[in-house]
């Protein structure tokens, strides 16, 4: 009997850009069945043929927050998380995520968190063809992550981190 992993999901937040240079703000709630947002990506569709990638070129996020936690600062170019930049890469690897020193993803809160996005169009116009309106899809990769306290490896990692932190403080005060 095949098993299906129901602990991951992609949530799509569409943002319609009606006209050139428009700034659009949108609020959405993260699916409450998933407690972490582990990846973010975006793409544009509906613009003139061949312009889907170009319309993201000079467009920026002037606000991108999850539960008031800043994900990107104002002026962050949308092309940095555009999926078009990674041609041929499997979809699950095309997401942006914050990572710590050892490459482990630092997720944002899921579970009905409020996502606030303010997108400003960069004003690209393809010669001889209309680009507007077009839609920017923001993709959130959602995961249901089990409680770290139940995972023996995570418990050991936390114990090591806690011990190192304590040792560092003791050595700093002894100098």
């Amino acid at each position: 009997m095949p098993t299906i992993d129901r602990k991951k999901k992609i949530q799509v937040i569409p943002i319609v850009i009606p006209a050139i240079g428009n700034e659009v703000e949108i609020n959405a709630s993260v699916d409450k069945q998933f407690n972490k947002v582990t990846g973010i990506a975006c793409s544009a569709l509906g613009a003139a043929a061949g312009a889907d990638e170009a319309v993201l070129q000079n467009s920026v996020f002037n606000r991108f927050e999850i539960d008031s936690d800043e994900v990107f600062p104002p002026g962050y170019e949308a092309k940095f998380i555009g999926v078009h930049r990674l041609k041929g890469v499997p979809p699950d690897e095309a997401f942006y995520s914050n990572k710590d020193k050892v490459g482990q993803i630092i997720p944002f809160n899921g579970n009905n968190s409020t996502v606030t996005i303010k997108y400003k169009d960069g004003g690209f116009v393809a010669a001889g063809a209309p680009n507007y309106p077009y839609t920017v899809n923001v993709y959130l990769r959602l995961e249901q992550v089990s409680d770290e306290k139940e995972n023996p490896l995570e418990k050991f990692k936390h114990f090591l981190a806690q011990s190192f932190e304590k040792w560092s403080k003791e050595n700093a005060s002894n100098k």
Partner: protein
């Protein structure tokens, strides 16, 4: 008891508007004081109404204000990175870490000429914030 060994990560953007064709632009900035250290640096160029794509528009060199430092290296600046990681330079590979509140001087050499310039460039800093995650 759960230890919090993870810190917030943040982006910081330095904008340099309207770079002049065939010029060298001198830029000075400080890494954000709220950063413990900078982990990645990335560069991007943009121009309203035009897609610059992967065209190499110029080269940027960075230098920290320490006695031992040499220019970090010259990096190409294009209209679009291959990917965030590939476009970014990792300061952790330096002999000394790039800390917060550190003065950086940069020189951007524009090579694309009047066909592309003027355009704006952005310097992205990605670093570990002083705030710990809950």
């Amino acid at each position: 008891m759960q230890a919090t060994n993870k810190y917030q990560k943040r982006w910081h953007i330095i904008s340099v508007p309207a770079v002049v064709a065939n010029s060298i632009t001198h830029i000075e900035f400080k890494t954000p004081p709220e950063f413990l250290f900078v982990e990645k640096v990335a560069f991007s160029a943009s121009k309203t109404g035009i897609a610059l794509h992967a065209y190499i528009l110029g080269f940027i060199s960075l230098k920290t204000n320490t006695e031992r430092s040499n220019p970090i290296q010259r990096f190409p600046v294009t209209g679009i990175p291959y990917s965030l990681d590939e476009a970014a330079f990792n300061p952790q590979k330096l002999n000394e870490p790039l800390l917060g509140n550190t003065l950086i001087t940069a020189d951007y050499q524009e090579v694309a000429g009047p066909d592309k310039a003027p355009y704006d460039i952005k310097i992205y800093l990605y670093g570990t914030h002083k705030n710990k995650l809950n």
